[in-house]
Symmetry: C2
Subunit: 153 residues, 2 copies
DNA sequence: CTTCAATTAATCGTGCACGATTGAAAGTAG
DNA sequence: CTACTTTCAATCGTGCACGATTAATTGAAG
């Protein structure tokens, strides 16, 4: 039935939309003490993984572009988490480095999140399969949406 | 391991966040022809289900509050999808009714989404289990977050 | 009836997301 | 070297989300 397809897609999309908002609120509890948003936490994670990335590289990691990242990184620079400077070898690019504050905060921030997960009794182990399943859906949607833009070339 | 908990939570949250954005983009393809956003489509679905709901009732259905719905409904009224009027029996409340346009568009809009699902070869049946799993996670997070606010009372 | 509490939509300010465009810089071809 | 193309970050405008507050209306208690 075609209508069943729509109903399933609607329910699935709505659940994912709701869960995303709820997860963001959940993280916000731990992050608000540091004055961080979830998106800003994602940037920190990318830089903890590898410091000195360009805006473009961070965007590749988080699936975000300059229209979102430029103001976001500026706010994080103002807050003292990182520095922004034009790359020496290619002045079009922007290189982002963590400040000492940004580096040293990794432990405390992740501990705050860990406490939030523990204290709230979020049985996260239960969702090991969920992570795989949702990742597959994510991949399917991404290829579906990016293949389309390739068609136009 | 505590760090494993964080890593799983981070991956899960990031996947849900990405999937939500991708799903919104996917729906946007079908909805843009009608000048609708995904959030506005959710409001239409709630009103197709039951017309004449109050802002509060719509908010209960979509987990949104007046700070989001008031401007959203105003834009939809401006676009001709619905009408907003104060309830007769309780002038604090706002009753929302579909216009003829809003009612008649249900078929075409859902057909556009169905075509989008079909044409893009999104094998949605494959995600029957995913819907259940993500719904459980959604419920867990919601009770977790709303029980907390009850503690403060 | 009067006072106080509760409910409701609206308002305000901030921070994403994102489609679209711009301008600068770098790369490429002739 | 010059002209053209590509690749960047930045900018612009719109529409959510959402914490916090406000003002109007209703309900409840005395």
């Amino acid at each position: 039935m075609q209508t069943d397809h729509i109903r399933l897609a609607n329910q699935l999309c709505f659940s994912v939309y709701n869960t995303s908002r709820l997860f963001t609120k959940f993280y916000q509890r731990a992050l608000s003490d540091f004055g961080l948003t979830y998106s800003q936490y994602l940037v920190l994670m990318a830089l903890w993984e590898e410091d000195g990335q360009t805006l473009h590289q961070i965007g590749d990691a988080l699936y975000l572009e300059s229209n979102t990242l430029t103001p976001l990184l500026r706010r994080m620079e103002d807050a003292g988490w990182l520095t922004r400077e034009k790359s020496a070898h290619d002045r079009r690019q922007l290189t982002v480095h963590l400040t000492a504050e940004g580096q040293e905060s990794q432990g405390p921030i992740q501990q705050a999140i860990a406490e939030c997960i523990g204290k709230e009794h979020l049985d996260i182990d239960q969702y090991n399969d969920t992570q795989e399943t949702i990742s597959q859906l994510e991949t399917a949607l991404r290829t579906l949406l990016t293949d389309e833009s390739k068609m136009e070339e």
